[in-house]
């Protein structure tokens, strides 16, 4: 499991716009870079990121090799109700990881 850094507010006022920041440890190998032996290394990137709020997709992004290693994504969403916010990263070589945080909306 790759290490993940998530900044999600634990509490929020109903209807307010909250900012979410997500970072995951990953090499994001571009597929254009030769190694020490001069052989171009195969692409190994995370190509999709999804954020679900209470099961509904509120943000998603398609990533390319132009995204830096340890991809960082910041975005916003509206705090609608208390519930789980889950984050899914999908990548090459069957990479898939999901993390969940809980938000309390008052």
């Amino acid at each position: 499991m790759a290490r993940v850094l998530l900044r999600v507010p634990t509490t929020a006022e109903k209807g307010s716009v909250i900012e979410i920041r997500a970072l995951i440890q990953h090499v994001m190998e571009t597929g254009y870079r030769p190694n020490a032996q001069g052989v171009v290394q195969a692409r190994d990137i995370i190509w999709h990121f999804t954020c679900r709020y209470d099961g509904e997709v509120v943000f998603s992004a398609a990533l390319s090799p132009a995204i830096a290693a340890n991809p960082f994504i910041a975005f916003t969403t509206i705090a609608t109700e208390s519930g789980p916010i889950s984050f899914t990263w999908e990548g090459d070589n069957g990479f898939a990881q999901t993390e969940t945080r809980h938000i309390t909306v008052t």
């Binding site: 995204i67 991809p71 960082f72 975005f75």
Partner: protein, 145 residues
């Protein structure tokens, strides 16, 4: 005489400026065309925030925001970021909905060399808006070894 000397001395500085080839420009244009589906692309509403002088091209902070009320009737559907001179023109394509609250996305990107970046927003009414910025990169991302 003085003028000639000045022109000659300033010539190396001109070499530092990005000089996109026609192939780069065509590739970027093709990527934009694919994103818009041939619809007209207008300047404005989109704001890219990136340092104009980048020291390290391996991780360049960039954020894109769009002026939009983000209501069901008027919101941003997608934001796409494209580059001119990396091996691939695509950078990131993000999907939004009225639940986003704001049309905003930030990330860290790689830049192979000094080049232009274009951000395009698709609105819920089907119109496309864009902004183009030029960035100078002093240390390129090691994408080609």
């Amino acid at each position: 005489m003085n003028l000639t000397r000045r022109v000659l001395l300033s010539a190396p500085a001109a070499l530092l400026l990005p000089t996109p080839t026609r192939a780069d420009q065509q590739r970027l244009a093709a990527a934009l065309q694919e994103f818009t589906g041939g619809a007209a692309l207008r300047e404005g509403r989109v704001r890219i925030e990136i340092s104009p002088l980048v020291e390290n091209g391996n991780a360049v902070p960039i954020s894109v925001s769009v002026e939009a009320p983000m209501t069901a009737a008027d919101h941003v559907r997608r934001i796409g970021v494209f580059n001119e001179r990396n091996p691939q023109p695509h950078v990131i394509t993000a999907q939004f909905s009225p639940r986003s609250g704001r049309a905003y996305v930030a990330t860290h990107i790689r830049l192979a060399t000094s080049q232009a970046l274009v951000a395009v927003a698709e609105m819920s009414d089907g119109s496309f808006w864009s902004q183009r910025v030029e960035v100078v990169v002093t240390l390129a991302a090691c994408i080609e070894g």
